[in-house]
């Protein structure tokens, strides 16, 4: 198994390299440079040229790339054009916000979708299943942002149950007060994005259960005199949960790309919001760093999926 995992990690290296090259060229395509907005507009153009030359902006691309990568390894992702602070520190607390939102979303998402998938699979074609199918169809069909808008309109504006923006109330004080306020701000966006991400898991689980139910080995288990509910839990459900376990990584990946929209709708200060703010302000260093981080996390999510799969599936584990 360790060989499989190690090989899988090694596969990530070329992917990372290609990703970084891609991001590098994307960054090159963007207008502006580190001196934009930093230097007094009255500076002599010749002096500016000299500064740029000294900063290596006229070096051949590979040299610049190598320097850029070298800096990344040193933990230097550049300085924000606009805020004039290191990008890393800019991203750090935003990343934490996104992390909490994603974590809560994931927890809610699985705690909704697994029971729903089990109910639908167990009561295939009965009313329970049909109800889940309707839920599933709606969450699949509605574009996420439409769902968020309708949700915020109904629950935040009309009913006034949840705050419409921010990550914490400015009036919150004390440890518990702050935490409570944070949770209050985070819970609704988390529920909304959790509901919209259930589709895949519910569908996989339902299909898995429905398919496994008619497998011969289930008949064998019955013929051994294993009670019905044990056959379901021990044989059918366990085997159907396997592919779900590996979906974990991809769910995280999905949340990352979804963070942009949910954070916009709720004005939640996370990485997605930071990304959109940066693009609006033409803060290209921050943008580049964020794309790189997004890409890296996506790769990591996929790696996680594969590793989980290789641990839980004996057919991959033993080899």
């Amino acid at each position: 198994m360790w060989k499989t995992v190690l090989r899988r990690v090694l596969i990530m290296i070329p992917q990372l390299i290609i990703l970084s090259i891609l991001v590098f060229f994307l960054a090159k395509m963007m207008p502006g440079d580190p001196f934009t907005g930093q230097i007094n507009p009255n500076t002599d153009p010749k002096q500016l040229e000299a500064l740029k030359r000294a900063a290596g902006l006229y070096d051949p691309a590979p040299v610049q790339y190598a320097r850029w990568v070298g800096n990344i390894f040193k933990g230097d992702l550049g300085t924000s054009y606009i805020q004039h602070v290191p990008v890393t520190s800019l991203i750090a607390d935003r990343a934490l916000n996104t992390f909490w939102l994603s974590l809560l979303t994931t927890i809610i998402s699985y705690s909704i979708s697994i029971p729903l998938g089990v109910i639908a699979g167990k009561h295939q074609d009965e009313w329970q299943d049909q109800a889940v199918q309707i839920f599933n169809y709606v969450t699949f069909a509605i574009p996420a942002f439409v769902f968020y808008i309708l949700g915020i309109w109904l629950f935040c504006f009309l009913l006034g149950w949840f705050p419409i923006s921010g990550s914490v109330s400015p009036n919150a004080s004390g440890f518990w007060g702050t935490l409570g306020s944070q949770l209050y701000h985070i819970i609704f966006p988390a529920i909304l994005s959790a509901v919209i991400t259930t589709t895949g898991i519910v569908q996989y689980l339902r299909t898995g259960i429905v398919d496994n139910k008619v497998e011969d080995y289930v008949r064998t288990a019955h013929s051994k005199g294993v009670p019905e509910n044990v056959v379901f839990n021990k044989h059918i459900l366990r085997n159907s949960l396997l592919p779900i376990a590996s979906s974990f990584g991809t769910v995280i990946t999905g949340l990352l790309s979804g963070s942009m929209i949910i954070e916009t709708v709720f004005s939640y200060p996370g990485m997605g919001k930071l990304f959109l703010d940066s693009i609006q302000q033409r803060d290209y260093t921050t943008l580049t760093a964020l794309i790189l981080i997004f890409g890296f996390l996506t790769l990591l999510g996929n790696l996680l999926s594969d590793i989980i799969m290789s641990i839980v599936d004996p057919r991959i584990r033993i080899k």
Binding site: P31, S257, M260
Partner: protein
Amino acid sequence: MLKKNKTTSTEKAKKVQVSPPASSFRVVVREVVKDKKALTAFIVIVLILLLTFGGSLFLKSDKVTEANIIEAYTGWFTDGHILGTDDGGRDVLNLLIMGGRNSILIGLGVTAVCETVGLIVGLVSGYYGGYIDAVIMRIVDFVQVLPATPIEIVLVTVIPHYSPVTLVWIISIFGWTGTARYFRAFVLSQRGRDYVLASKTSGSSDLKIMFREVLPNIGSMLIIDVVLTIAGNIGIETSLSFIGYGLPPTVPSLGTLIGFANDPVNVVNRPWLWLPATILLLAISLSINYVGRALQRAGDARQRES
């Protein structure tokens, strides 16, 4: 004499009732007519198409998007604006019609590109297998792990002479991989079937086998995938427009209209700006998906039969 006998037997055969495995098109018609809810969904789609495509025939795009500050934020049913006006005094109904058409067109455009590319890549990868497949799948894997939305947004902002066509290409960069995977898996399962081998021994070329033997078996899958992908792609375009990085500002989109809801003032006080567009997009997404699901069920049922 012998010759004559043969022709008569052939003619007799022609009269015999034949029931081919229903063609993809027939499945569409039959399933949609049989399922009343799907029929309703289908009618909704037709109505929306009539409204948006038919309506936009009577509109001039530059007129629709022309700003007229004096008339800004007119409410519903006032001054001849059934759905009021936006911040630039533009008629929301006109924007809705044009935006609906544009969003659907982008969805169709992206689907056309992605399905074509995905189908060809899936066919080649699945049929040839081996190294060709391995290389193609590595590429697919890589494109799939790229963070699509951020890159799309950056491309939208950095590409010069940016137009709706550019947007179609940008979204398509990331859209073809799912389709390619889907068809590859199917072709891979067909490749092992003996009818492909039988065609080979019958002297048919690889190209002929791929397009004349394997492709017809994909037919209904393709239709289902196209229908569901259109809905998904409309979603992607409107999402991007919603956050301000989809269609150019001069080109109306449902996403842009819904984007008005990002301002709390609009949410509470000016629902005409975003609510109609939200409802229209909801109707489009739900009905297209419903038809897609109905087709999928039909396809599954047929697979079980054979």
